[in-house]
Symmetry: C2
Subunit: 344 residues, 2 copies
């Protein structure tokens, strides 16, 4: 089924107000969730909102907490997320990085002690909408074995890079594992094999079977040892810059995943006053790539390419929602939902 953006946004606001968000924060938080579904990233929108509610109910997320400046060194600042809502914290941090970059050419906010930021791409779009090149990443609970190991001791640590462009920003949003557990689950439900190797089976061999990978808990880092190394460095930087926790210090129970460390960097390219030349070059880079002789394995796309088309379709036709999830959202606090959340 599909619901309008307005319906989804309002329903999310209603629930957030009910559990005590201030009107302003309820509006922004609801918008960040609704925008995620609008852009087609259904794993991190409404479907994640229910888990967000459970984490609030269990006390992991403090709905009133706002990021606090810990210490500043010019264009590099450390903030404490005080375990507030992960998307509000991340949004505020990228906003601050945009301001710092406006003042200093480049700006960086390192955020400790925060919660899951939901869709990482959100903050890339946010930076690019402000005309900035943006980079951000988060660490996560341990969910990826380092290269050479069979135990998850690294996070999949999503990395986002965004470049502004009039005809649609270029936004890369990728984790360090070849497939997320959500994607493995989706293939498993459809009874399909992964399009490429996604992890190891019981015999330590590479496999496309999502069931075998879930069984071993050994998803594949992108580029084998390379993604393993990049994941390690992203975790180190996030924790050392923010003064917060590293992956191994984060609770491995996904409903208790908190105290994350994140980094937000903005580059004020507009300071260079060659925006027409930059726009032209960005488009040429894309055209050149898309013009390559195809291998026959599908379209050649740039990161974020489908977003605007999906956004347009979902704004026109309504946003696809799972009927059961939509009904669960609507029932919230029509029954004694609060108590059920505490129990779950």
């Amino acid at each position: 089924m599909r619901v309008s953006y307005q319906q989804l946004h309002s329903e999310l606001i209603r629930v957030l107000l009910k559990i005590g968000f201030t009107p302003e924060r309820a509006d922004l938080c609801a918008r960040l969730f609704a925008d995620t579904d609008r852009d087609g990233v259904y794993t991190n929108g409404l479907n994640r909102f229910l888990r967000f509610m459970a984490m609030i109910a269990s006390g992991v997320v403090d709905i009133d907490a706002q990021p606090k400046l810990e210490s500043g060194a010019g264009a590099l600042e450390r903030w404490d997320g005080v375990r507030g809502p992960g998307n509000l914290n991340a949004y505020a941090s990228m906003q601050r990085a945009i301001t710092l970059a406006g003042e200093n050419g480049i700006g960086c906010v390192a955020l400790a002690n925060t919660n899951h930021w939901m869709r990482g791409g959100t903050y890339g779009w946010q930076a690019a909408d402000a005309g900035m090149i943006g980079i951000c990443w988060t660490n996560t609970l341990p969910n990826l074995p380092p290269w050479g190991a069979r135990e998850p001791r690294l996070g999949n640590n999503p990395l986002v890079i965004a470049v502004p462009r009039s005809d649609g920003h270029v936004v890369l949003d990728m984790s360090m594992s070849q497939f997320s557990y959500g994607t493995l689950e989706a293939y498993q439900k459809r009874g399909e094999l992964l399009p490429v190797f996604g992890g190891f089976n019981q015999d330590g061999e590479l496999t496309r079977d999502p069931v075998a990978i879930e069984a071993t808990g050994r998803p594949l880092p992108i580029g084998f040892w390379k993604g393993s190394g990049l994941s390690l460095l992203l975790d180190m930087m996030a924790a050392l810059l923010s003064g917060g926790s590293a992956t191994h210090e984060i609770n491995a129970n996904s409903y208790q995943e908190t105290g994350l460390s994140q980094t937000f960097i903005c580059f004020n390219v507009n300071a260079f006053r060659d925006s027409a030349a930059r726009e032209l070059l960005t488009n040429q880079i894309i055209a050149n790539m898309k013009g390559a002789a195809p291998s026959g394995g599908g379209e050649i796309r740039y990161p974020g390419e489908r977003t605007l088309a999906t956004r347009k379709e979902n704004m026109e036709l309504g946003i696809p929602v799972e009927p059961s999830v939509w009904s669960e959202l609507q029932k919230m606090w029509c029954i004694d939902f609060e108590r059920s959340l505490h129990i779950s």
Copy 2:
């Protein structure tokens, strides 16, 4: 055969002085090459020096050119490399990023119009030796097909990330292709298969055969579509920040590869005055990773782990050099070498 660091360094200086480098620049340039061999990265040390000489002889590299500040926006600066020696340009740029980070907490130098930086890890070690977290990357000529294509239109765009540490910095130095052409060639010479899939064969299937990959010119991006996307974004950022060329504007003849764009970022973590806590956390992150149950596929290592051991061994026993390459270096300008370079 092995030669002492001193011998290698002196011999390189001798040749650089002979072709007109000033003493100070000859010393630094020779040191950057010799350090690369000392640290075991033999592809980018002496073995690359001969190609460097040929590029100077053919006029691609201007030995006297020094980076020139184009425009500054606080902690973000644009420099023109004026096609000077790639390693001297990159070294000067990272040095400037270190200074900017010292003043502003974070600093970024975007460098246009430069040449191959030889070993990227050099500038990571440089930042970490200054107590900074450093990130840098370069674009390259087109040598990697985008995901979905069979034609090289992306660069392999090496990315370097360095975190300082008393017991040896953590330095990641990785390109966006699973294996470099140099590595493919080395496996080919030994008649060995690659340890994991490294590209596509004529039938468009993934293969571990380096000969088949060289034949198709289709090495594999790390993480399939993910590395392809990351390569694109690294190129965009390098070119847009510096105002320089993007990969598709760079001559695909490797001896004419020039006009590269690079980015150097430093974070002054020492501004936060928690160096003991940071050192402890860095060591804990490494210990935690290395303590994971092994998969039996070799040791669990952090990026850069072997560097200090190799450095120690090569300083004690001498640096391994190919006898033919060493003899070629020694002969330089004992015969009419300049003319032969111009002809080659």
